[in-house]
Amino acid sequence: MENQILTTENLFAHYGDIDTIKNVNVSFPKNSITAIMGPSGCGKTTFLRCLNRMHELTPNAGSRGKIILHDEDLNKLEPIEVRRKIGMVFQRPNPFPTMTIYDNVIAGYKLNGIRKKRIEFDHIVEDSLKKAGLWEEVKNNLHKKGSFLSGGQQQRLCIARALAVNPEIILMDEPTSALDPIATKIIEELIVELKNTVTVIMVTHNLAQAGRVSDYTAFFYLGDLLEFGQTEKVFTNPKNEITEKFLTGKIG
């Protein structure tokens, strides 16, 4: 395949004594969108959270194996450094309730104590909100608290917040599952746009969404990566029987 950005080698993850992710080897191509699919409880969230070392925040949880970004093994870095390179958007929008919209976007700078000139921050805010497709809706209310925004707007605010620190990869865990269909459509279009700037790895439960949005699909089953390939190919001609059953709605 073309230019790879992130590769896992023999990645295992566990909660307590139980291995939830088993020996996953996969390479994500740069500036692409990968959908991670699989039945509930198969380990999609766990896998995603391994990639930016959020998984180990859960008590008694951990992972082993290699996660290689360019030439660097992320498991050898400090988790904080990893998370600064790989952004994350959660299932439920979680803007900071005490901050204004403006401050939410530059939270990655403010919270990390990075000082910049006002004009630089203004540009980052505008640029990030534009990329997240939220600029027009909030440009007159930048200094209000984000709590009056709708769920979909809050989620786009969270995407803007992740984009603002200029990550190479953004992980999204079912970013539209808490949203209505219209908000979902807007976010899907936005994700496709994002491809130009970053690499997106997103968990989705929704086959149609994966089909509409993703370039690649990874299919997990009981902690194993059963299948990885171009979405078209996986959808039309799955190699694995279980994948086929899943795609035709017989499991899941």
Binding site: R84, F90, N94, F96, N112, S147, R161, V165
Partner: protein, 282 residues
Amino acid sequence: MTETNLKIRSIKNIIFRTIIIGVALLAILPLFFIIFYVIKEGLSAINWEFISSVAKPIGESGGGILSALVGSSILIVIAVIIAIPIGISAGLYISEHSDSKLSSMIRLSVEVLQGTPSIVIGIIGYFWFVKPMGHFSALSGGIALALMMLPMIVKTAEETLRMIPFSLKEASLALGVPYYKTILKVILPAGLSGIMTGVIIGIARIAGETAPLLFTAFGNAFFSTNILKPIDSLPLLIFNYATSPYTDWHKMAWGASTVLIFFILILNITTRIIVNKWKIKY
């Protein structure tokens, strides 16, 4: 038969309700009456001179409670400065490590400290600070009061912080923000109104404490702002004047009581405003 039975039951019901309301009112009315009585006696004593001047020697009329007002403020400030950082940090510790052994020991200690009689806190203040320093002081009084308000702050801090959803912490950590900055800049601000409420309730509680000050701040007939010297406070003044034989002093004590009650009332109202206005939606 059943009809009379029903009647008896409903009469019993009415009698019971009447008794409950009657007894409850019987208890509540005297409670109101105390406040009414104090304020009635006290309001006539309060004027500008009363608030703004120091006490006059026995026999001379006039004078005010300025020394006690300033003293109480100094004591409260000392207590707050000491109790807030320790209380919030400890509250953070137990909310962050809620299952650890150390946490349960801290919780137990907080309960014990909260149940410690105030006079015992006074003895402790005497032995830890007054005796080593060789004299009574505002500082020792302030520290004794800090011990009294510490449990309140730890508990409200813990409760508030525990209510903050984990997703908020995740949002910050996922941006590569170090844990301690996440706590200081995201979690604490989100819990600010709850913690403030705890602090204000704590202040309301120590503002009227007398027993811990008897052997620490001790009281001072003269105006003083030196934290290493004995200092007067409103409750000490009320105690000394109330138990004195002078009618003038009694009047001043009523005035001081009224001031103290209003101060506590204002603190109570403030916490309500904070709770209602500063609600954070997640």
